[in-house]
Symmetry: C2
Subunit: 257 residues, 2 copies
């Protein structure tokens, strides 16, 4: 699915609200902040906030909304219950629904976390002439549950999810330089070259998103990923949470960097 790249974040969110965009947000509104979503009940909100504080690479906080609030300060007029292309609902750690509107599930004790997303630096890579295959193909980035354990916090524990982008070997150093400028959105890559070092057996079978080929002269480059809270919700058998659908982010009005 391709979208007019000149669409403003507000116009894009309106398309989502009206059910007109259900696909990934890679390449949408280049230069604007995109965020992963995690919504949890107040009784576990401290534990989850602490989890983010202890795991800043996969879970860099962009904004936390107090219980019951639905309008982020990074996007005035937005509603986090309707303005993403897709959501996931987990109960007792199991995925039970994938709606595109979670208004019917809303409760006043729900606390919303917006977490930085690697899509924020993708436009910087593209601007530097480093192509990204999933953006060129209009598909979702490939994501994997790794063997890296997150630092636990209260009830939250589980594996770190990583995203992978094939990068020409000659571009890897510049990729690090560019991404290191964005420490608030996962920053520099975690690993280059050996998926098995991260416990990933088969790059062709991502746990989330779409597989892409590794071309000649390319290395697989891995970043900490904001889908980590979903793997953690599953590992911790969290009674209830709502997240974004992987690759379908909240697009904010603020600019990167």
């Amino acid at each position: 699915m391709r979208v007019d790249p000149t669409l403003t974040p507000a116009a894009f969110r309106e398309r989502c609200r009206n059910g007109l965009h259900l696909g990934p947000t890679a390449g949408i509104a280049p230069g604007f902040v995109q965020a992963n979503l995690m919504i949890v009940p107040r009784d576990v909100a401290f534990d989850f906030l602490l989890f983010c504080q202890r795991n800043p690479k996969p879970c860099p906080l962009v904004e936390v909304l107090e219980a019951g609030r639905t309008e982020p300060s990074i996007a005035p007029g937005a509603d986090i219950r309707t303005d993403l292309p897709g959501y996931r609902v987990y109960r007792d750690g199991a995925l039970v629904d994938e709606p595109h509107d979670v208004t019917p599930l809303w409760r006043d004790d729900l606390v919303t976390f917006l977490i930085g997303c690697s899509f924020s630096f993708e436009s910087a890579l593209i601007d530097a002439g480093i192509p990204l295959r999933h953006v060129d193909q209009g598909i979702n980035v490939a994501m994997y549950r790794s063997a890296i354990a997150c630092n636990p916090a209260g009830i939250f524990h589980g594996p770190m999810v990583v995203s992978m982008r094939p990068i020409q070997a000659a571009d890897v150093a510049r990729t690090f330089e560019i991404c290191a400028r964005f420490p608030d959105v996962h920053g520099a890559p975690l690993h280059v070259g050996d998926p098995r070092a991260l416990g990933i057996v088969d790059l062709a079978s991502p746990d989330y998103g779409d597989a892409v080929d590794i071309g000649p002269g390319e290395l697989p480059v891995f970043w900490a990923c904001g889908v980590t809270p979903q793997a953690v919700a599953q590992a911790a058998r969290l009674p209830f949470c709502i997240t974004h659908a992987p690759g379908r982010m909240f697009v904010a009005d603020t600019r990167n960097g």
Copy 2:
């Protein structure tokens, strides 16, 4: 009060535990992390963690201990109830006690926050040949409640506390350069030169700590300060909290930067 500067953090904490050091910690264990302390009951811990997330300049988190825990990972074997030179106990926003041991007040629902401290960069300034008067005089740094409002979070709101160090005008630029390397411990100064711009009427009357003179050719330089939670506890009339006594920090086993 002067202390052997070669004292290890563990040996210093033992002196505190035995009531042998009651003064400020500026100049103690140069190069090691020092931290401000804030202990609150679990029912307001989410709000306070969110307050820190929204106010990273005055409240950069070094470590958060889950409810009931007293041994930080940054200082194995330490006990946050005994290992600081002095504590303050606030009830309903009022200072009610200044003990040097808070074990009798301990409860299993108390959550401990260790917050980065500007003392962490003081040794870098001294190493660069930039003298610090309060260290030379063996007194506490001067701190002021400013007119800058913190970003509120839940029940927490109030003024930012700032610390002030007189710096030779010729050294101010280097001071910024050096402190900017320590973003996790307040980082670069907030302001230089005009106390009234921060709502400070009289530099000779600090709200916390000890006054120092501004010498010829010197400018007052201001940093966000980890005593801010105490001013916030007062402004928000927090029912109960325990903090460090201003200037009397927790000295950790980890090194700065």
